[in-house]
Assembly symmetry: C2
Homo-oligomer: 183 residues x 2
């Protein structure tokens, strides 16, 4: 399936892990490398430790004007200069998922400015969201970020801002994995 | 997974098919029986013709007041008197999925009154929605309805009303399968 992806943590892969921090809830086993592959059933090899699966999907909160701003400003993955990455798996609480669409949108944007914060870091910080709650994974979202080394401080600001929002009151598990592309 | 389900069309199952109409796009092969089972990898048997898979998920459009109304009025599946059922697989167009959340909500409720129409038929017509677009299925949604024989005319009104809405301009494939519980 074109929209299905897996992140494999182990001894092989083009991304070298520089840190792996469990910020809330259980962390993940620390691995030397991560690879990002198509499909939900990746070929695994000796030394692989974990596989996290997800799918890209339609937008769940963004309104028209926000989508237009995002499209006008964002750049894709795999830019040659973007040799730094972060993989941030997150699980939200049952309380979050029991909220109605308008309640979640209010927390996500009116109170937490999630899209607005992300927009402020475009095009430097590229981002791809993968959903995984509906397919029985241990996390609800896997977000992959790519940026050039000189924008690493911007990335710190971005995640710090998001983690201070009311939306983060609903995050019950979060792991922050930082990576450098191997040459 | 607790939220994963499959509908299997074939020679075996507790629901006898009384009609199978392709309303838009390609229909499904007509089968004598349907069964509804847990999981995405159901045991299949000789005579099985098709499997449609889906998952239940959080609400995507309903606002708080609508959720409260739905919860106050709806009844569950498997009521002894509810010996009639309908399975309606639907696929929406790429144009629908490219819309923003606010655009989809406007069409779904402000213009089409999808939730409001469904509410008018509660508790007689019980309903369970399964999502399947994100897992590579041929349809986007599988909706299962159950009702008593005396409410069959109400069910016709419900689906007729929905099919006349602006939301249905985005439906590019729809099959309507009607069933009776075997004794």
């Amino acid at each position: 399936m074109f929209n299905h992806y897996s992140f494999v943590g182990g001894e092989h892969g083009p991304w070298r892990v520089v840190s792996c921090n469990g910020l809330r809830g259980e962390s993940l086993p620390v691995v030397p490398s991560v690879r990002f592959v198509s499909g939900l059933s990746p070929q695994t090899a000796t030394g692989d430790s974990w596989v996290l699966r997800g799918f890209t999907s339609n937008v769940r909160y963004a309104e028209r004007r926000e989508i237009d701003q995002l499209r006008a400003q964002q750049e894709g993955l795999n830019r040659p200069a973007a040799t730094r990455a972060a993989l941030i798996p997150i699980r939200k609480s049952a309380r979050w998922w029991a909220l109605s669409q308008d309640e979640r949108r209010t927390i996500f944007e009116a109170q937490s400015h999630h899209t607005e914060i992300g927009l402020a870091y475009l095009p430097q910080i590229a981002r791809q969201l993968h959903h995984c709650r509906d397919i029985g994974e241990p996390f609800d979202f896997l977000t992959w970020f790519e940026f050039a080394p000189e924008h690493a401080p911007d990335f710190e600001c971005l995640v710090e801002q998001l983690r201070k929002t009311p939306e983060w009151d609903y995050v019950e598990r979060e792991v922050d994995i930082r990576l450098i592309r191997k040459h």
